[in-house]
Amino acid sequence: MSSVTELRPRTPAETRLLQLAEAQGENENVRRPAIEALRREGLPTRRVEAWHYTDLRQLMGKRLGEESAIEALRESGETVLEPFLHGSSIVDLGTSEGSHLPKGVSVAKSDERSDWKVTPNRLDRSIDTIRALNSAFGANSSAITVEAGAAPDHAIELRPGVGLSGHAHTRVSLGAKAKATFVERLDGNAQGAPSTGVTELHLGEGSEVLWIVDQEKGLDAVHLGQLHVRLEADSLFRLFVLNAGGGLVRYEVHTDVVGEGADIQMRGVNLIRDGQHIDVTTTLNHTVPNTTATETFRNVVTGGHGVFQGIIKVARGAQKTDAKLACNSLLLSDEGDFSAKPELEIFADDVVCGHGATAGEIDADHLFYLMSRGIPADKARALLIKAFVTEVVEELEDEALQYVLEARIDDWLSANG
């Protein structure tokens, strides 16, 4: 396979991406090997299993083929953003600077990437394209630490830099029994700027994290993100992903459960309209006994392309793993499509693992029920769509957060539903 990719000619998009990466100028020791890897391998096509439903080479070509997009990228300026959650501390990942950081939380520049090597993709043997791109552009790397036992009372919002510095690499570590909420803010009028983000999140023993991804980029934006999570014993990782924007977006979450008693709760809502390509790819990797995980994604598709790939891996000896995964899609128009690939890879015989995937339109019976009670068709429809997605929001059991998320979902539904 690799011999084929080496031989094929570079697409205009690939050439431009490389030119852009070359133009960066800083951190040569990190960027050089990554640029070389990309030069050699090119962008993945659908022949690469991990990118089966997101043909990056073709999709990037559509969005990066124009010279103007590159110019826009250079010019894209800063935008003023209100914090996602009231009272949050803001960390600028472009500069590794934080404002009003709570007690026990610190942010510093990091030289984490200095020993960068080409790493294989988590899903197959091809190279990890997102990590390579992130390093090829990488200007800055931040380290965020939450001390053992610290439990800040407000959220920490992470904002990538803008334009060419919109390629954050972040390492977040929580000490034992620490508790924190993070908001990864992927927002603003990026205007065709490709951005990437790679976060390594480490949960110490008994620690708890609620990680919220708010992706509401412009419809011409390209974002490729990765979140790697390592869970020590008795830690709890909760994730909520909201995709309500972006032109070409892939968000990967890869979890490694290395301590017994750890629990993962992943939830997400993907709202997809025409012109978008939204891909969520996840791994639950259980390597020790007695761990649990639940994962639910709800997708509303009025157009465009939606993709969900999720794998549950249970290693040999990881007995008593209890992991469940569900991906439900509501397809509201023939203009859109949704592809799902929920996988199981199980090497232990005393486990309970399952996945379910559904795709379909609004249940005609439900609609009839509401209409027979005097609710007009369009309102009944809206009600059912809302119920379908907010079900997973309610599972967060945090009223303030629910309020914010539901408001954003409502905005989207009233504009696109």
């Binding site: 499509d337 592809s339 799902a340 929920p342 890879e345 232990a348 005393d350 379910g356 995937a357 559904t358």
Partner: protein, 510 residues
């Protein structure tokens, strides 16, 4: 939940070292030289007395194959196959082509008897004739007696290495207008049907192994059921690999014309040997308007020994085309053999209201590797499909379900229900599920489930409400369900399938 003892015992009974069909028939064979090249293809074509167009077809496929690469996406681990180290043609010397049953070498007849397929006594098996009555084959001209107690009779095409050695009940089938004969014979006798349908479901260039098969296929069965005819008996083919260092490359083509019905079954075994042998088959089914085809397989190729030595590499392309409206194709498979299984019996649901079904029980033991599943491609309106897959892995085996369900943008009101459950026995095996679900139409309803508990919640509640304890209720429902799959199999294969009936899927994981 770990597997229950009963299940463990049942699986142990069909473990690799219990393989009973591993004997070898010592018989003089006519074997082509090793290697895959144009000369060998020409030789096969000459041996089969084929017309010019067939040879051209084969050679074109070979040209194409030379440009292709072996697929590597399946979860299978095996050393590269040396295609030049295989005999592509091997036939018993006593016969160069299909003959009447009386001419068949008694040694071969004995082989089939030992395999439980006594060709001469077949009517007894079907309850048609008492042992002391004269056989139909002793006087092939008379009308055979009708089946007693409505039990089905089975016509068998027996394929021994590269040739079909016998086809039974041919005359009676002819009366009904049904054509059932070795494909090599059909190429000569019904060229119009072959030219129209061969390669129309699995194109020559479909995939690496199918393309190779197109170049070198030696025999297999051909079935044509004319308009409105319900085939009067079950049809079946029994494949036997016997010769050392050969591969078996069979090709089966079944056509059910408008409103026709046919049920077809196949069985496969091979001798116990230390070397790996290749089996690369292509099966094409065509169902025209209102037709129905039921295709069942009990695959029991030699699986290799406990240490993974020997065994058949089974790379098979099976595909059905519901070409006409209201047509129906159903695949049922019980997979217990082969060192490697690479097999995805699929349905292309082209006609409106057509229906595809896939029922599978795959049991892997020792060091067997199974990567099997199905594709349901919904192209027509109101098409529906159902996938039920049960995988059981034991020993150091790996068992993967891989499946695709897709709906075309214009295919409205399509339905799919998929359930695949796996069960692991022991700590050294693996079970994997890789479904691909692609929905392009808003009215498509696709459901994929991989847990037993979830599907049976209502049934469970029903049972428990009537006083049955939960565990018993689960066993009842699951056993009842496995039986459903087994019952899709025709009677003749029930013996082998019976071994699996006892297997409860209690404790299965997704």
């Amino acid at each position: 939940m770990p597997a229950v003892q009963e299940t463990i015992d049942s699986v142990a009974k069909i473990d690799v070292d219990q393989y009973k069909y591993g004997f070898e028939t010592l018989i003089e064979m006519d074997v082509a030289p090793k290697g895959l090249n144009e000369d060998i293809i020409k030789l096969i074509s000459t041996k089969k007395n084929e017309p010019e167009w067939m040879l051209d077809w084969r050679l074109k496929a070979f040209e194409r194959w030379k440009t292709m690469e072996s697929p590597d996406w399946a979860r299978l681990d095996y050393p590269p196959i040396d295609f030049q180290d295989i005999h592509y043609y091997a036939a018993p010397k006593s016969m160069s082509g299909p003959a009447s049953l009386d001419e068949v070498d008694p040694e071969i007849l004995r082989t089939y008897e030992k395999l439980g397929i006594p060709l001469k006594e077949q009517e007894i098996l079907a309850g048609v004739r008492k042992p002391d009555e004269p056989s139909e084959f002793d006087d092939d001209s008379g009308t055979p007696p009708a089946g007693q107690d409505g039990r089905p009779r089975v016509a068998v095409d027996a394929v021994f290495d590269s040739v079909s050695v016998a086809t039974t009940f041919k005359k009676e089938l002819q009366k009904a207008g049904v054509i059932f004969m070795p494909i090599s014979e059909a190429i000569r006798e019904h060229p119009e049907l072959i030219q129209k349908y061969l390669g129309s479901v699995v194109p020559v260039s479909d995939n690496y192994f199918a393309t190779m098969n197109s170049a070198v296929f030696t025999d297999g069965s051909f079935v044509y059921v004319p308009k409105g005819v319900r085939c009067p008996m079950e049809l079946s083919t029994y494949f036997r690999i016997n010769e050392r260092n050969t591969g078996q490359f069979e090709r089966t083509l079944i056509i059910a014309d408008e409103g026709a019905y046919v049920s077809y079954l196949e069985g496969c075994t091979a001798p116990q040997r230390d070397e790996n042998q290749l089996h690369a088959a292509v099966v094409e089914l065509v169902a025209l308007e209102g037709a129905e085809i039921k295709y069942s397989t009990v695959q029991n190729w030699y699986p290799g020994d406990k240490d993974g030595k020997g065994g058949i590499y089974n790379f098979v392309t099976k595909r059905g085309d519901c070409r006409g409206d209201n047509s129906r194709i159903s695949w049922t498979q019980v997979e217990t053999g082969s060192a490697i299984t690479w097999k995805y019996p699929s349905c292309i649901l082209r006609g409106d209201n057509s229906r595809g079904e896939f029922y599978s029980i795959a049991v892997s033991n020792g060091r067997q590797q199974i990567d099997s599943g199905t594709k349901m491609i919904h192209l027509g309106k109101n098409t529906s499909s159902r996938i039920i897959s049960k995988g059981i892995s034991a020993g150091q085996s790996n068992n993967t379900y891989r499946g695709l369900v897709s709906s075309h943008r214009k295919a409205t009101n399509t339905r799919n229900f998929t359930q695949c459950d796996s069960l692991l026995i022991g700590e050294e095996c693996g079970a994997h599920t890789v479904p691909y679900i692609e929905s392009k139409n808003a009215t498509a309803q696709f459901e994929h489930e991989a847990t037993t508990s979830k599907i049976s919640e209502d049934q469970l509640f029903y049972c428990m409400q009537r006083g049955i304890p939960e565990e018993e209720a689960v066993a009842l429902i699951v056993n009842g369900f496995v039986k459903d799959v087994i019952q899709q199999l025709p009677m003749e294969f029930a013996v082998e399938a019976q071994k699996l009936i006892g297997i409860s899927l209690e404790g299965s994981v997704g």
